[in-house]
């Protein structure tokens, strides 16, 4: 029976399976848990962490000076009231989307290939949201007040936030998203944390993992509750994938500014978010699988699938560009037409055409299997896609604002060193968090990946508990 299932499984994914050959329960548990439990601190990991810490230091400096001086240290002005701050916010939030998509939507669709990348994609989501959340707070003139005035809390003055403002919707959308993502991630970690607890050799790790695993014993009741919780959280997260970036897009779509005021924004933003999110997953996955020799868990099949998602969402985004241009022309509104003309021929035309080149032209290389299966190409492409999606927000925000209705207030925007430092700093924060995650948390879901094994698929009458918490 087992042989039969195995043969069937191999047949479907004969060429590029979602799990490498020759794996069994023990080997998977061994290879994944070795990283957090082992005493090895690889040189490459230390260097990476140091780079992250350096960026984190820069972030602290940038935030410290910002709090001291105000956003005057940035390049924002009137008319360009938002620039790097909101570009970076939207960019990071967008990146976060891949994690939720992988862990929630693909889970509901029973896409097994998601299992080995879900854990770190979710971690990526949480860290990206953490980076993103810094910007809306710190870009305000008085962050020490914005930190709580934007939340509805009862107060003696009877003041509430202004619920018609998309920025308030943002606050709810992003905080909900962050909360659900964190809960989902932690719940998903519990069985593996218990594995860590059981396999830990040092007392410290045993105590820490023991506490974090919340008394998980792997009983059938536990597994039942776990499955229900996962399903509920996946159900909660699924609409969030669509809603969060829709709400973020309302920041622009609700305004009256040509280039912002567009009904196409919500779907176009969501597609862009997933596109950039998968780009970032690839950027992370390709080096990690090589460094930690996880090629048998994150296989070429994963790379291929992610590339296909990128191609699909990238084409939606490119369609969005086309529709934006079409509506601008078809509106016969001279401000809309000028906005487009200015994007295409104005002082920031380079950003628009670079964006179009990447997202509407270059992306077509993903039609070719030879590209999708070439790790070098895919890695470079994933970086380019991240750049392009950053540029997209630059084009939307800066080129729309810098020349709007009244000609006299037209002006140019140029970022300062502090703008770059703040952006680079959030990357430092992201890298730091991610490197700590890689070392101290099982970055691949052991128990889920084990279900991919042929053994897990055997439906033997006596085998009620096909899951094991590892021995």
């Amino acid at each position: 029976m087992a042989q039969h299932v195995h043969a069937q499984q191999s047949a479907t994914t004969l060429e590029h399976p979602v799990i490498g050959a020759g794996q069994d329960y023990e080997s998977i548990t061994e290879v994944v848990s070795e990283i957090p439990l082992g005493k090895r601190y690889p040189f490459g990991w230390i260097i990476g962490l140091l780079i992250g810490l350096a960026g984190l230091g820069a972030l602290q400096l940038a935030i410290g000076y910002l709090l001291l001086k105000g956003i005057y240290i940035w390049g924002n002005n009137v008319p360009v009231g938002w620039a790097f701050d909101i570009i970076n916010f939207v960019w990071w939030i967008g990146i976060g989307h891949a994690g939720t998509l992988i862990s929630a939507i693909l889970m509901l669709f029973k896409q097994q290939w998601r299992m080995s990348i879900a854990r770190f994609a979710e971690a990526m989501t949480i860290f990206a949201v953490a980076c993103a959340a810094l910007f809306p707070l710190l870009h305000t003139g008085r962050p020490w007040l914005a930190a709580y005035w934007l939340f509805p809390y009862p107060n003696t003055m009877g003041l509430w936030p202004q619920f018609r403002s998309p920025l308030i919707w943002d606050v709810f959308a992003v905080s909900t998203y962050a909360t659900v993502s964190v809960v989902f991630w932690i719940v998903g970690l519990i069985p593996d944390l218990a594995t860590m607890r059981d396999r830990a050799t040092s007392n410290v790790k045993r105590v820490v993992f023991g506490a974090l695993s919340l008394g998980w014993r792997g009983s059938a009741r536990h597994w039942h509750r776990y499955e229900v919780a996962s399903l509920i959280l996946a159900g909660l997260s699924t609409p969030l994938v669509l809603s969060v970036h829709s709400v973020v897009s309302f920041d622009f779509a609700v305004s009256v500014i040509p280039g912002w005021h567009a009904a196409i924004f919500p779907p176009y933003f969501v597609a862009g978010a997933i596109y950039s999110g998968f780009g970032m997953v690839l950027t992370l996955a390709i080096p990690i699988r090589a460094f930690y020799k996880l090629e048998h868990l994150i296989t070429m099949k994963h790379i291929d699938n992610m590339a296909k998602v990128m191609l699909a969402t990238g084409l939606i985004v490119a369609y969005g560009y086309g529709m934006e241009a079409f509506f601008g022309w078809y509106s016969a509104n001279q401000y809309e037409r000028f906005m487009l003309w200015n994007r295409m021929t104005g002082p920031y035309a380079w950003s628009y055409w670079l964006l179009i080149f990447i997202n509407a032209v270059l992306i077509h290389v993903l039609w070719f299997k030879s590209v999708r299966y070439n790790l070098k190409y895919m890695f470079v492409l994933s970086l380019i896609v991240n750049l392009a999606m950053w540029l997209e927000r630059f084009v939307i925000i800066v080129t729309s604002l810098h020349r709007d209705f009244v000609v006299s207030s037209w002006d140019m925007y140029s970022p300062t060193a502090w703008d770059f430092m703040m952006f680079g700093g959030t990357m430092g924060l992201f890298i730091t968090l991610f490197f700590l995650f890689m070392k101290f948390v099982p970055m691949i879901s052991i128990f889920e990946v084990r279900t991919l094994l042929p053994e897990a698929k055997v439906h033997v009458p006596h085998g009620h508990d096909t899951h094991g918490s590892g021995h």
Binding site: G141, A146, Q162, A332, N333, Q334, L401, F405, V406, S409
Partner: protein, 1049 residues
């Protein structure tokens, strides 16, 4: 009681240790005394019963008054040791929180403007025009508006010094008496007094008394940008010094020969702007609209209002004037039109000739005497004298040819004939005298040199003695305006830095050296009484008769005649109080003179032919005048009306000349004149005459203060005695660039209908032309919600684009009223200027000679405000009277409101722009307006503090707010009355009537934000016989788009 007595002594003892200049700090310190804390503690329930107890109440009041009175209400002076009277009983007229207004006057360039100054608890905070003043009629210019900041300038000099050593006033008096006594034997042959143009009768009388006592001494009046040409032109034409005073209300056709009569920096701009606007307003018959021709080199605000503007070199204007005069048939004048102006000469001459008695020819100050004489002759020929132009005594008391007098002074100094020189005022000759005279070298040959001025400037630096002068808001004086009307200048505050007024400084040369300014001025007027200006017209000319008590007396100003006593002290006291109250001395207006062209006037030889090469023009600066306002941050940051440059001057060049020289904005030009070279960045100024550059004067100050030192390029270093206004120069591109900062980079209006204009004929045919320029007509059914009904007031504003001259007075008035900070050049460069009200400038037509349109842009106060819905914390909300209010306390600074504002009128405090450190500036601020902090958005509020103040008054009197009772700061300052504010719910209000005007339109109406600020479209009145630039607002390429938009919706 005895215990409380001890407490008071303790407070007094504590205060004795503090010094006055630390006033504000000491207030805080005193507020923290145990006594004061005790008072605060007792104010509330525990000891409230004390109030009813007679003994306790008295103690309570004593304690309170002592705490507050001793805390330093005596402003900036050191607390006296003697017994002082506590503030128990409220002084008459002072209600804390309610401002008082005092009438006074400010003089600039020898002409006074009548002012009302707002004072809060003894601090002057805001300048308004005096509506009763016969000459300025309530208008003010930007310099008057900004002068309040100069009063509180922390860089003003504050001690009398002798070669850097601090000296007491008595030390200076001793020194000057010593210098004077050395002159006693020679009749004052070595004594010179150098002042600005003096328009103060009492000061002139004082000086003339001194000259009488020292017959060999000399008095030199010096304005760096002298009006010598006006005086010399009048003398050439009429044989005497008279001031031509124009009446634009009667002028149908005006020809300006390089005359920038509307500009604030030129004398009487305020008066003329108002009069000129009255013929451009169109609220009466459109036939009354005047037509203006301007021939000039540098685009000016007057050129911007012209129906036909000819760009020509300043040196060509004379030939142009001769050609028109010859065409008109002025006797003895011949001359052909300069190349390319034949058609204009014919058409203008015909237009002038067709309007005999209602035409007017105006010559500019920069033009040589011959052009002024030609203008006088043309006005004479056209029968305009007595109609559109009248001739009056000059506003300066003693007219003189200042350039020649100054030249003589330099020669005398060089020759060692000057032993003592007293320099008074802001003329700053070391900085401003023609470069070839080497004034600084000559000055140092004078043995005894003293300077009295507001600042320790370049001139003070080279004088042994320096006496800080008083600001006009700190001193007693008097000042004559253009029509001869005298205002008594009364102080609103004690001299902040112990300054001495010019009267007091000059008095040290006389018999009563220590006489106070108050006594000097009062004494003068006690004897002089109110009389018309000197050498006044015959009695039948309709000179206003003085108050009955003041019997007519002979001209008192000329010191040679002995003034007779005119009134008893009691009557005088009554009169004096009335003069102070009214802000002017009734009956002092000069009567028009009847003058006739002198025989042989036309023999004035034509000036030398225009120099070949590039002509360099020097102008007063539109922001900092002749350099005296260089340390005024409001003015430095003010975008200049035409170029919108801030914080710098530049070599303005036309587009073609720039092309020829191979320069772009900011490229350095090397300008070489008579062997002197100045490197100055180029700025392309559409409409500038070709082969000419213009550099404004006053920049490049070496010793101006923390704001003005080292800003811009010193054109005085280039300007010689032979090139006071313009001269041929060598101009070439120099290497390198310099960052010039302008608040508006884009010239074109991009075919948008922001500003709308039509020619007069088009307007007559279709008064609603502006409505047809809408991109998209809105229907009423756009929203499901009913319109909000305003039951009470509903505020709104209308701005007439046809009368706005772009002069900037409103911008500075707004800055002053609303505590708007100055941000500095680097921040303006980054697009972070803070002025709530800006004036947009657009060009239309030929880039070499475009039409210019100005559009003041305050908050539009939209009914459906895009800013309000996007604020996450409700920091900008709609008021029940339709205002779009900012709640600074609530603002967290997301800047979303600014992004979503189609007009971009919101301003953000990117950092702490307000100066919270400088003590003196704290006193300047308007206490009715919040001083905004970092991270907060701000914008125009329609001066909501003024609305509320009027509302309180109206409620107390149980009535509605009257139309015109609320006057916004910009409206109050506007010399041409282009801005009207009021209640839209009152159909009889001025603003409601203007909104019903067919020219009234909303900007960006298609966005359906329903702005409360609307504009009255501009109308130009070009001569059909001449080509003119196209109008703006949707007639041309964009009209197709507008049409297609309408058809598709």
């Amino acid at each position: 009681m005895s215990a409380e007595q001890l407490d008071l002594n303790a407070i007094r003892a504590r205060l004795a240790g503090t010094s006055g200049p630390q006033y504000w700090r000491s207030l805080e310190a005193v507020a923290e005394t145990p006594e004061f804390k005790e008072f605060l503690h007792r104010e509330f329930p525990a000891n409230a019963s004390e109030w009813n107890d007679p003994v306790g109440r008295r103690g309570f009041l004593k304690l309170m008054s002592a705490s507050l009175a001793l805390a330093g209400v005596t402003a900036c002076t050191v607390q006296p040791d003697e017994l002082i009277v506590p503030y128990v009983r409220q002084p008459e007229e002072i209600v804390p929180g309610k401002p008082l207004f005092f009438a006074t006057a400010a003089s600039l360039g020898g002409v006074a403007t009548g002012l009302l100054v707002e004072s809060h608890e003894g601090r002057p905070t805001k300048i308004e025009g005096n509506p009763d003043h016969p000459a300025s009629q309530g208008g003010t210019d930007l310099f008057a508006q900004a002068s309040i900041l100069s009063l509180y300038d922390p860089d003003r000099s504050n001690t009398i010094t002798e070669v850097g050593q601090v000296r007491p006033w008595s030390g200076f008096v001793g020194a000057i008496r010593g210098a004077l006594s050395a002159q006693a034997t020679t009749g004052g042959a070595g004594l010179r007094i150098l002042t600005e143009t003096v328009n103060s009768p009492s000061l002139a009388a004082q000086i003339q008394q001194i000259l009488a006592a020292h017959p060999q001494a000399k008095w030199i009046q010096w304005e760096p940008t002298t009006r010598d040409n006006v005086r010399a032109g009048a003398r050439a034409a009429f044989g005497e010094y008279v001031e031509p005073v124009y009446d634009f209300t009667k002028a149908d056709v005006v020809l300006s020969l390089d005359g920038d009569f509307l500009a604030a920096e030129n004398a009487f701009g305020v008066k003329y702007a108002r009069a000129f606007a009255s013929r451009r307003r169109l609220d009466t018959a459109p036939e009354r609209m005047s037509r203006l021709y301007v021939a000039e080199a540098t685009p000016s605000v007057t050129g911007g209002r012209a129906d036909h503007r000819l760009a020509m070199k300043a040196s060509q204007v004379e030939a142009f004037a001769r050609a028109i005069a010859a065409k008109l048939g002025v006797a003895g004048i011949t001359g052909g039109a300069p190349a390319g102006t034949d058609a204009h000469v014919d058409a203008i001459a015909a237009d002038l000739a067709a309007h005999r008695g209602t035409s007017l020819v105006v010559a500019g100050e920069a033009q040589p005497a011959a052009v002024h004489a030609l203008a006088h002759a043309m006005n004479d020929l056209l029968g305009n004298a007595g109609q559109t132009v009248s001739y009056m005594a000059t506003p300066e008391i003693v007219p003189s040819e200042q350039h020649a007098a100054m030249r003589q002074l330099v020669v005398d100094m060089d020759a060692g004939r000057v032993q003592a020189l007293l320099i008074i005022g802001e003329a700053n000759p070391v900085f401003t005298a023609p470069a070839d005279w080497k004034f600084a070298d000559a000055l140092q040959k004078v043995a005894w040199r003293a300077h009295s001025g507001l600042f320790y400037d370049e001139t003070a630096e080279l004088c042994q003695w320096h006496v800080p002068s008083t600001h006009y808001l700190e001193m007693w004086s008097d000042a004559r305006s253009i029509d001869g009307t005298v205002s008594i200048v009364q102080p609103l505050i004690q001299p902040m830095y112990g300054g001495k007024s010019p009267h007091e400084v000059v008095a040290t040369l006389g018999e009563r050296a220590e006489q106070s300014g108050y006594d000097i001025v009062r004494e003068y007027w006690m004897t002089a009484g109110a009389t018309p200006a000197p050498a006044a017209a015959p009695a039948d000319a309709g000179a206003p008769v003085a108050t009955p008590a003041a019997a007519p007396v002979t001209a008192a100003v000329a010191a040679a005649t002995e003034p007779a006593p005119v009134a008893s002290p009691v009557t005088f006291e009554k009169q004096w109080r009335k003069w102070l109250h009214d802000g002017y001395v009734a009956g002092t207006a000069a009567a028009a003179k009847t003058v006739a062209l002198a025989a042989g006037w036309s023999a004035v030889p034509p000036s030398a032919a225009p120099a070949s090469g590039v002509e360099v023009n020097f102008k007063r600066d539109a922001s900092i005048y002749d350099g005296r306002f260089a340390n005024n941050g409001w003015l430095q940051e003010l975008p200049k009306p035409v170029t919108k440059l801030t914080w710098d001057n530049a070599a303005l060049v036309g587009p073609r000349t720039a092309e020829k020289l191979g320069v772009a904005n900011g490229d350095l030009l090397s300008v070489k004149l008579e062997g002197r070279t100045l490197e100055v960045p180029a700025w392309i100024d559409p409409g500038h005459a070709q082969d000419a550059v213009t550099i404004s004067l006053g920049y490049g100050r070496r010793r101006a203060g923390r704001v003005g030192t080292g800003v811009g390029f010193n054109a005085y270093a280039l300007r010689g005695s032979g090139s006071v206004w313009f001269a041929g120069a060598e101009v070439a591109k120099a290497g390198g660039t310099y960052q010039l900062v302008s608040t508006q980079d884009h010239w074109s209006i991009e075919g948008r209908n922001l500003v709308r204009s039509a020619k007069l004929e088009e307007y007559k045919a279709n008064p609603k032309f502006a409505h047809e320029m809408e991109h998209m007509k809105l229907s009423d059914g756009l929203t499901l919600y009913p319109k909000w009904e305003y039951s009470g007031y509903s505020w709104g504003m209308a701005i007439d684009l046809n009368t706005c001259t772009g002069c900037n007075a409103c911008v500075v008035a707004c800055q002053s009223e609303n505590n708007i900070p100055v941000v500095g050049k680097d921040q303006v460069a980054n697009g972070r200027e803070m002025q709530w009200l800006r004036i947009d400038r657009y060009y239309a037509g030929d880039i070499d000679n475009p039409d210019t349109y100005y559009q003041p842009m305050p908050c539009q106060q939209c009914e459906n405000a895009p800013c309000e819905v996007v604020c996450p914390v409700s920091a900008t909300v709609h008021s029940a009277e339709g205002l779009n209010d900012m709640v600074y306390n609530r603002c967290v600074g997301t800047r979303y409101c600014s992004n979503n504002c189609p007009w971009k009128v919101r301003r953000f405090n990117f950092t702490l722009y307000q100066d919270w450190e400088t003590e003196s500036l704290k006193m300047q601020r308007n206490p009715d307006v919040t001083v905004r902090s970092r991270g907060v958005m701000e914008k125009c509020t329609y001066c909501v503090q003024r609305i509320n103040s009027a509302r309180i008054q109206a409620k107390r009197e149980d009535r509605e707010i009257r139309d015109g009772e609320v006057v916004t700061a910009c409206e109050a300052a506007c010399p041409s009355q282009a801005i009207t504010f009021g209640n839209l719910n009152d159909p009889n209000s001025r603003v409601a009537k203007l909104k019903a005007d067919p020219r009234n339109y909303s900007m960006l109406a298609e966005l359906n934000t329903r702005p409360r600020t609307t504009y009255l479209a501009a109308v130009r009145n070009p001569n059909p016989a001449l080509p003119s630039n196209p109008t703006v607002g949707g007639h041309h390429t964009e009209s197709h788009e507008a049409a297609s938009t309408e058809s598709e919706h």
